[in-house]
């Protein structure tokens, strides 16, 4: 992907919608294209969190497994973000990310994005506000999911 293409892709990604031009320029310099084949693992549980991805196409499964039990807890696709924990320091991945379809994404080194946030708090505010929105959305979805609404024995206090 040529730098101009990367910048366009960033500008049109929902996560960065409305981000001031100068910050798009800044992020364009950090972003690099990655692609994964079907069933390739993007990261594993326990991996140090380093990269943050904006998915451009394809479908990723976030999953967790123990013997006899394998659960996909969420699927992510074009327009979604993957690996937000890399925006926090000293964390590791809690789930495995596996490609259900071939995936193209733009990746950032989370530590470098955070360093930029520290240098320019206005930029940091833009990024963190988006990250908060993203986490809130994931949390909301998770809460509904744990309610197990489709099950006749769904979650109840009694």
């Amino acid at each position: 992907m040529a730098p101009a293409e990367i910048r366009n892709a960033l500008a049109s990604h929902p996560f960065l919608e409305g981000l001031p031009e100068k910050y798009l320029d800044l992020l364009s310099k950090l972003a690099f294209e990655v692609s994964f084949g079907q069933d390739e693992i993007i990261f594993r549980e326990g991996d140090p969190s380093s990269l943050f991805y904006l998915i451009l196409s394809g479908k990723v499964a976030l999953e967790i497994a123990s013997p006899g039990r394998h659960v996909i807890i969420q699927t992510l696709e074009a327009g979604d973000e993957l690996g937000w924990s890399s925006l926090l320091e000293n964390t590791s991945k809690q789930f495995r990310a596996r490609c259900l379809e071939p995936v193209r994404a733009l990746a950032f080194d989370g530590a470098r994005v955070v360093a930029l946030c520290e240098q320019d708090h206005e930029f940091g505010y833009h990024i963190m506000r988006r990250a908060l929105g993203l986490v809130a959305e994931r949390l909301r979805a998770t809460r509904i999911q744990v309610l197990d609404v489709y099950s006749p024995k769904g979650v109840r206090a009694q």
């Binding site: 479908k59 659960v71 996909i72 699927t75 979805a141 509904i144 999911q145 197990d148 609404v149 489709y150």
Partner: protein
């Protein structure tokens, strides 16, 4: 005393009297859900239903339950019900065999706004067993396909093994001007579809919100989220319809159990326009 719209002559058969009908088939849909087809007496009013309505199904000596009709309204010689085995009566229903008899009363309740939706696109949002009462609406739209614009069917379920009508669902997705997408709360290792709440599928829907009628049926929490989200996406609230569930013992407004604020779900519902029901949806223990 009686209002004009209700002034019709009382039905010949007392409303609480079931009609014995023979079961033609019992098809296993999932590990706990079965589809029963019964043969009502030819021409009996019990078989004339509108999509979204329900019948009261009676198991001899065991009890009676409201079950939505899940078959094609154009087929008058049989009635179809999709039943999830969650209690005594439902267990008895799904363990009947072809040739056995059950009793039915009805049909009862309001129906999906198929007339109002003519000329518009239709967005079906189903959750779990909620796809069953929507299936007659889908059949009706497919039968009169020219009357409607796009048809989008979004279906959320607990897990892949809980998905109903899988072959049929896949076939709907291949029809022109039709999208059929499903998502599950929890996927297994071989699942290639979506995992997430049903509202996450909205981003794949391509339709003009102003020209769309939405029909939603599923667990109440899911319906509340879906209706709110659709409203936020520009669907006029009056074009959103929901099918509600409450404890319905009689179907006829006598027993009082299914009251929801000013409504009896059995006769003012189960299908409500969103603005009618919205003030009551968020009230706890109403």
């Amino acid at each position: 005393m009686s209002t004009a719209s209700h002034a019709a002559a009382p039905p010949a058969r007392p409303v609480m009297e079931p009609v014995p009908v023979q079961i033609r088939s019992v098809v296993k849909e999932t590990h706990d859900t079965f589809t029963l087809t019964v043969a009502p007496p030819p021409g009996d009013p019990v078989s004339a239903f509108e999509p979204g309505q329900f019948s009261m199904l009676y198991v001899f000596g065991v009890g009676e339950l409201p079950i939505s009709i899940s078959g094609d309204p154009a087929v008058r010689e049989s009635l179809t019900y999709t039943v999830r085995s969650v209690g005594q009566v439902t267990y008895q229903l799904v363990t009947r065999r072809p040739g056995d008899y059950i009793g039915i009363r009805g049909p009862f309740g309001t129906s999906w706004p198929l007339k109002e939706a003519r000329g518009k696109s239709v967005l079906i949002v189903a959750g779990g067993i909620g796809l069953a009462p929507l299936r007659p609406a889908i059949y009706s739209i497919l039968r009169h396909r020219g009357d409607y614009n796009r048809l989008v069917i979004l279906y959320g379920s607990r897990s892949p093994r809980d998905l109903l009508y899988r072959k049929e669902f896949a076939a709907w997705g291949l029809l022109p001007d039709t999208q059929a997408l499903c998502t599950v709360d929890y996927g297994g290792v071989s699942w290639r579809g979506y995992v997430g709440v049903v509202t996450t599928l909205f981003r794949h829907v391509r339709m003009q919100p102003q020209e769309t009628v939405a029909m939603i049926c599923g667990p109440e929490i899911m319906m509340r989220y879906a209706a709110r989200e659709l409203e936020a996406r520009g669907l006029p609230p009056a074009q959103i319809y929901l099918s509600m569930e409450r404890n319905m013992k009689c179907g006829a407004g006598f027993c009082g159990h299914c009251q929801l604020g000013p409504y009896f779900v059995c006769k003012h519902g189960p299908v409500f326009a969103y603005p009618e029901i919205k003030p009551y949806l968020d009230l706890y223990e109403l």
